[in-house]
Symmetry: D2
Subunit: 356 residues, 4 copies
């Protein structure tokens, strides 16, 4: 069940990064939803490496292959299965380090759990696993679209360079998905410099969902924010998440932190669009802490599977900053959570309407 | 399903803060586990208000009533049900504001979702709901104990006062659960001052789990950190969570962020004890952003259920800083997640051992 | 999770037959549903022993205690918890046989699984466990009522005496819930005779759900009939289930077995109201095989927990035929399955309507 | 979630009978289990049509394509995905009846639920869906094998011809999987005759699981028999299930129905290997009622999607008796249920052993 997500809209992902390919089955999509295959491909293209010099230069065309569930551009009501084949698996880059545990990677924990030596390509821990999420997220976005719900993610920080004036449209055009045109050059310079040092750099992304109606999410354990947190932290490099005011609220007073309720447009959204685990109609707003890519060609200290201390230098093609690649994945996870909550909400609304 | 949590160890909570009481059913506890009723009561006492001047002065004795599943101090293998009755429900304090939506509370979202007017006591959104979590967490701790797994939560920040030298044992003796003896007085002064201003203040708590063996947690969606994130953000006032290095890693390079692997004791734990979603044997370390208590007696702007703008002042007894009350709840959620993961781990280990 | 049932409407039951009491938490009930407490009590009274000479003469008043989730006769949207206390636990009747495994009972399997000696009262395997199901079923019936869905169960066979002309209304008035007035006396005589022989007798009940709209249930694993089968066989004494034409179809040809589709009222319902796992609008019709009560005072061969062969005679008060007692439980399980499917159906209908 | 099955070992199936192909993802398989690809293919070959004159003459080679989760003949611990492509989709046979609802089929209910016209090939309701179950079942069998658990299904009745002397080995060699060599010819004659009448015939199969240790399954809702019932009735043509003594017990007395417990080999297995929902160590024994194949070329009365009354004759290639084709599917479902229960059992045993 480790690769199954959701309650009403359930996805089941599979695939190893250096095997046949990556795939996903989406169960619970009602019939008749318009889902053009190009829309799915477009989402996959957004996460694809090779689109700029700051992201991995692998030539992965990542063409989605539709296996079931969609006919003539509409969902059938049956599970939608998709496969993206691996094309460019240069495992020789990885071979040299095959018995060494890469620091910051899942090599050691997978070895302890599965008894399997450090994998070329990282098994289920590779970033390529997120392909399946993005494909599934495209389906979820198609469910949300008729409701006017729109989700966007963008980079708001790389190293210590912080975006101030957020322009999500600009982000979509920028190789680092930097949301602040004024900080775009600085961010690019920093990434180039880090790359030249054979190192990598962390950052932060923001995800916003506009058009969410009040009433999504449930009290107690299935709070909308709790579900979003679980969904986002399941993405490889995410080391933290905050909602609305987030960590800054730890220094605030109640009189500053509470969003006043009025008939005029809201003046603050410290709640991040969620109160008591239920959406309140304001935009849902979260930020994710992204750790630096652990794959660096700089020398690092490690041990091998025999327990001997070694030095490791990870060759191959790696993103110096993973933020722009995480954005479409975070959007996908947000879409999946919201579509799931929407199905739940419709279930209860249907019953409540019958009584009236 | 909003009040059901867990996959192998499943808890189902119920109760309203101003109804009969709060309760929980815990399903999936193997037979024969020693669970002294005093241990459960002790955990409940740790979260109880009225233990100091900084927490609500309600006289809630919160005696746990065991309904099933434990016989002569040991689990039977059947569901364990517990009830804590409400004793001191002074609903008149709340009556005055019964038609007003309290800012920062779930009143508005519950009204939109359930069509129910702002509740005296907050329905399922009241902090009293966490009683059931703590009772269940005590059972989870009993499952973890024979494995030597120990969990502790403590306050590391109130307002801008930050704990530096962490001493968890000291925290257990302090009314604010402040973990740094040198900052305890400053934190107390700040809380007193805020209280005198009819306001409240945010803060931060840290949760550590020691003794966790490698191999807990699963790849992809049921990563141990993802499950912990979902569990923690489901606690009322939590607006953010970070793991190990957390948000600070956003400014770090890969060469700084990766924990070197060596035969000597580890020099860093930026991963927070989890890599690729699986425990690596280091302590699991998280921090939670706690927003200021939204219930303040200071005047605030709001609307009522008829849509008219009003001023609200929330009388009654409220915690000026909720951090010390969140600590036992966060411990409970961590214990529930780890016990669940432990059951899953035993399931796979059993099969793997059979093959060898 | 062994005591949790359902996907959208989830119930979690607890309690031992000779402990504090039996209870249930129902999660997922939308807000505002009219649920009079008397209606719940009425359902419990229908399953209560002591109502005739053919059912156990224990004096269990089985008063339901509402712990949460209903306020002024309507659901709040929060979990509904109910407790029925044990009043008349004469465990001394059971004491004498405390180390012997009762044939046909769960004593031996519980001992192997939990290491717990044969229980006075049977732990979770006692028939008293079904109280919680009936209480939960009453809530499910309240959800179904506004849709005009009505469920009834009645006895159609005891021993070899088979009901021919089914009259469900008559069944409701008869101590054995015999559905055929012409066979009622024969059934009564048989049960009396078996009782005088210190023995018990098997039988069959039928459950019908009228007013079910087409479209409930899902293909493949969550077929409506599959879910009903799982629900019904989870009731203690049920050793078989059949749908519509059932086992008789094994001797039929396709041309006889297929229900013709026409504009006139249907002439047959061999499908039992379900095709491809989805309701077709015809009444849902099932039959359950009920084994004879295993508790008999006649001498039986067994072993004790030390492995020595013994003779056992089970004193105490036992139903010579359990069919009338199973009826309300089977109705409850049917109601829970249909209410769950209805929530699911509303979820997908809501989305589909949004597109049009 | 309609196509997801299991709790610890979860399978997610997909595919339409006349689309790209059928597939399955199996999540929760521990690492290191030997799973030769030939073993999976062999199971698929057992359910394949075209192996005799009594089963559909389509030329489906049904070659399994492994997409993930197995490397060098052993499970990796990651999800195992498999695809079987559709090769021989002669949809023209179906075209003629494309707007008519086939009696006994899911056409009408799918139309009401999904708004989709009667499908060529039947969508998810086609028998070809079971391919995915058989592939998944092969994995489950590989998990059970090291425990010595062995499952077999065979035909025990066709029309009114009932097997008396059961020989499972003979069944494996016989085109109808008839378990009684003395009845094999009669069964064959009956099937030939029915086929010549453009009709079909029902039957019964038995499934036995040998080598099951005591302790599998859980009380109340996840009783082993309840889970098996849900699994089996989810197979298309199954209209009934009984355990051990089954429906015959409805005419028995308790003194006849209870299996005596002794130190000698058991003389009866009326319980079918399960008491109180938990395996008792005896063989698990069930029987399934299989309805006649609804696809017959004989004229039948129906309506079309415009609501007009029509006559339908279903051309194409159809099994006159589906029993032999159901056998491998029933084995697969039994294997999936038992492997799931085994994982659960290992989870609790692991914890219980830690305490001792």
């Amino acid at each position: 069940m480790s690769s199954i997500f959701g309650r009403f809209l359930q996805i089941s992902t599979f695939g190893e990064s250096h095997g046949v390919g990556l795939g996903v089955v989406i169960d619970g999509v009602p019939a008749g939803i318009p889902i053009p295959i190009e829309m799915i491909q477009q989402e996959l293209d957004r996460r694809r490496p090779g689109t700029s010099q700051y992201v991995t230069q692998r030539k992965e065309t990542d063409q989605v292959e539709l296996l079931s569930g969609i006919h003539e551009g509409r969902s059938l009501g049956s599970p939608i299965a998709m496969l993206v084949r691996n094309k460019d698996a240069r495992s020789k880059d990885y071979k040299a380090i095959n018995t060494l545990f890469r620091p910051g990677h899942a090599d050691y924990t997978y070895f302890k759990k599965y008894g399997i030596p450090p994998q070329s390509g990282g098994g289920r821990a590779s970033g390529r696993e997120t392909l399946a999420r993005v494909a599934a997220g495209a389906i979820a976005k198609a469910i949300l679209k008729p409701y006017g719900i729109h989700i966007q993610a963008y980079t708001i920080k790389i190293g210590s360079i912080q975006a101030i004036h957020i322009n999500p449209d600009f982000a979509e055009t920028h190789p680092l998905r930097c949301a602040d045109p004024d900080k775009a050059e600085d961010m690019e310079s920093l990434v180039k410099q880090v790359q030249s040092e054979h190192d990598s750099i962390g950052g932060m992304i923001e995800v916003i969902a506009n058009g969410v109606m009040p009433g999504l999410g449930d009290p107690v354990f299935h709070k909308l924010d709790a579900t979003i947190a679980g969904a986002m932290v399941s993405i490889g490099a995410v080391k933290g998440i905050e909602f609305g005011g987030g960590f800054a609220l730890t220094e605030k007073k109640g009189s500053e932190s509470n969003d006043p309720i009025s008939l005029s447009p809201p003046i603050s959204n410290h709640a991040g669009g969620i109160l008591g685990g239920i959406s309140n109609g304001a935009p849902i707003l979260i930020r994710l802490a992204i750790k630096p890519t652990p794959s660096i060609s700089k020398d690092q200290q490690t041990i091998d599977i025999l327990g001997e201390e070694k030095t490791i230098s990870i060759k191959g093609r790696h993103d110096p900053c993973i933020c722009p690649r995480i954005c479409p994945v975070a959007e996908a996870m947000m879409a999946l959570v919201l579509a799931d909550a929407l199905l739940k909400r419709n279930a209860e609304l249907g019953i409540m309407n019958q009584i009236m």
